[in-house]
């Protein structure tokens, strides 16, 4: 496996540290004019999601982690695994466990495309697109004429996610939702 020297460290690089795959967040080069150079590095452990701070002597290297992001279509769940299929034409399927799917579970809609992060070929995490379009399956009855401001109400979407929506939203409508904040963006016109 390839390795990276400290002078190749940059944000986004995936490396192995203490046996865990990590992504480099920041790399600060410090050096007394006449002395030994060091790299003060912030990394996110992709297994625990914790942020680590480590110092390396400049010139040291870390093994590259076999971590890659791949676009995949969500197929179905059998209750134990959530199955995804690569969209690169290979039709390769990957089962992701509950830990890998994590919070993304509430945004999973069959046939939609997600970013699956593979570590040694196994899904490590699943990231939804920034915006998803989902149907409202339950909410209090709409209030006619109230299209301006004033209040919101919870609405349950087809995936189980609950978001706050304006009062005029009714069951059966399709909404655009920002997955990063979990907030309602707009209604989507459906034919």
């Amino acid at each position: 496996m390839a390795s990276y020297s400290t002078n190749e460290f940059r944000g986004g690089l995936k490396v192995l540290l203490d046996g865990d795959p990590c992504v480099i967040l920041e790399n600060e080069f410090v050096k007394p004019g006449k002395g030994q150079a060091f790299n003060r590095v912030k990394l996110r452990n992709l297994m625990s999601n914790r942020v680590w701070e480590r110092t390396f002597k400049s010139g040291e290297s870390l093994e590259a982690a076999d971590v890659m992001d791949q676009e995949m279509e969500y197929l179905y769940t059998d209750g134990e695994f959530w199955h995804f299929m690569a969209t690169d034409g290979s039709f390769e399927q990957h089962p992701a466990d509950e830990k890998a799917v994590g919070d993304t579970m509430k945004w999973l809609k069959e046939q939609d495309v997600y970013t699956v992060t593979l570590y040694n070929g196994t899904p490590l995490s699943v990231t939804p697109p920034n915006f998803v379009e989902l149907e409202v399956v339950d909410t209090d009855p709409g209030m006619k004429g109230d299209t301006a401001q004033g209040g919101s109400k919870p609405a349950t979407l087809s995936t189980g996610a609950v978001v706050n929506v304006p009062l005029f939203i009714v069951i059966g409508e399709v909404l655009k939702v920002d997955t990063r904040s979990g907030e309602y963006v707009s209604r989507v016109k459906t034919n």
């Binding site: 080069f29 410090v30 004019g33 002395g35 030994q36 150079a37 060091f38 003060r40 002597k57």
Partner: protein, 326 residues
């Protein structure tokens, strides 16, 4: 990687005008003191021998009396300026473009601007006075405090850099690095360099201008050394401004035999670290044998001085085009 706006300078026009203003300030400063401006080669047959300074190499072909071969972009104009001093120049200064391989970060660019000057008959204390006038005069800040290397470690790290046993020094480093075996094979100076960058420098943020002087003799580089209460110290000083290292100065070594020994010691260290050796500069040794007048010299980073003036912590804010945009 590159974006459409990457052809643009990273520094503001305010910063670039300050840079021009700094150069004219420096020329007035030295003209008023009768210090001669000189220029020396950026490309030369020898590079620096320091373990922790790496030269960028170039490979020009033969040209007339020059037979061609590897030459080195200079990490500072020190060797050549000392040859001028030995040849009788008197006080000299130079605004120089220096090169150091592999150094890039918020405080580093592999190519940077350096002001270097030499004062015959000045000792390190007298030169510190002049550095303080030049820097604080331009920045409009209070004159620098002065602390010895030992004092600054006692005050900010809580340990004595001269007397603490090596294993305890290593423990202190590993503890701060968040890795219990980090410093297991560090030598004394590597431990001290770590503590300087990770503990002392951060503690100097907000402290204004501070001179650190009387470095351990093992970090003397080209400075004279002396005994201070049983500890060998170097007549070497650095100026920090709010934790940012600005300059490095020496009461210069003038002894050719001692200089030759330091070249050898540097190369022994380079071999031990698997780095290529740097042949001793025979012209410099010859000049020292001829006689370098007693003098002090200092190199000051102009990009960092500009960073202080503009209140930025990132060198890209003061250079037009850092290396990745060059």
């Amino acid at each position: 990687m590159s974006r459409e706006s990457d052809w643009q300078p990273t520094a503001s026009w305010t910063a670039l005008r300050e840079r021009a203003g700094l150069l004219s300030y420096l020329r007035q400063f030295f003209a008023a003191r009768d210090v001669l401006e000189v220029e020396t080669p950026l490309l030369a047959r020898h590079g620096v021998s320091d373990l922790h300074l790496d030269c960028i190499m170039a490979h020009p072909g033969p040209a007339s009396d020059f037979s061609g071969g590897t030459v080195y972009l200079q990490t500072s104009p020190e060797y050549h300026m000392k040859r001028l001093l030995a040849a009788g120049s008197g006080a000299i200064y130079q605004v120089f473009r220096a090169f150091r391989d592999g150094e890039r970060g918020v405080r580093h660019n592999p190519e940077f601007s350096l002001l270097e000057w030499y004062r015959p008959d000045f000792d390190d204390r007298a030169l510190m006075d002049e550095v303080g006038e030049l820097v604080c005069g331009w920045l409009g800040v209070d004159a620098p405090a002065r602390l010895t290397y030992r004092e600054v470690f006692l005050q900010h790290v809580g340990l004595d850099p001269f007397t603490l046993p090596l294993d305890e020094l290593r423990d202190a480093v590993s503890g701060r690095a968040g890795n219990p075996v980090f410093a297991d094979n560090f030598d004394r100076d590597t431990c001290l360099d770590f503590l300087m960058t990770h503990a002392v420098e951060p503690a100097l943020v907000g402290e204004g201008a501070v001179f650190i002087h009387d470095y351990p003799a093992s970090q003397a580089a080209l400075a004279r050394t002396r005994d201070a209460g049983g500890c060998a110290v170097a007549h070497r000083f650095e100026l920090y401004l709010d934790g940012l290292e600005l300059c490095n100065g020496y009461w210069e070594l003038t002894d050719a035999a001692e200089q030759a020994r330091r070249f050898e010691a540097d190369n022994a260290l380079r071999r031990a670290h698997g780095k290529p050796e740097m042949a001793a500069d025979d012209y410099l040794l010859e000049a020292l044998r001829h006689g370098l007048p007693a003098c002090s010299g200092v190199a000051l980073g102009l990009d960092r001085l500009l960073m202080c003036k503009l209140g930025t912590r990132d060198i890209r804010d003061v250079v037009a085009f850092p290396i990745e945009r060059s």
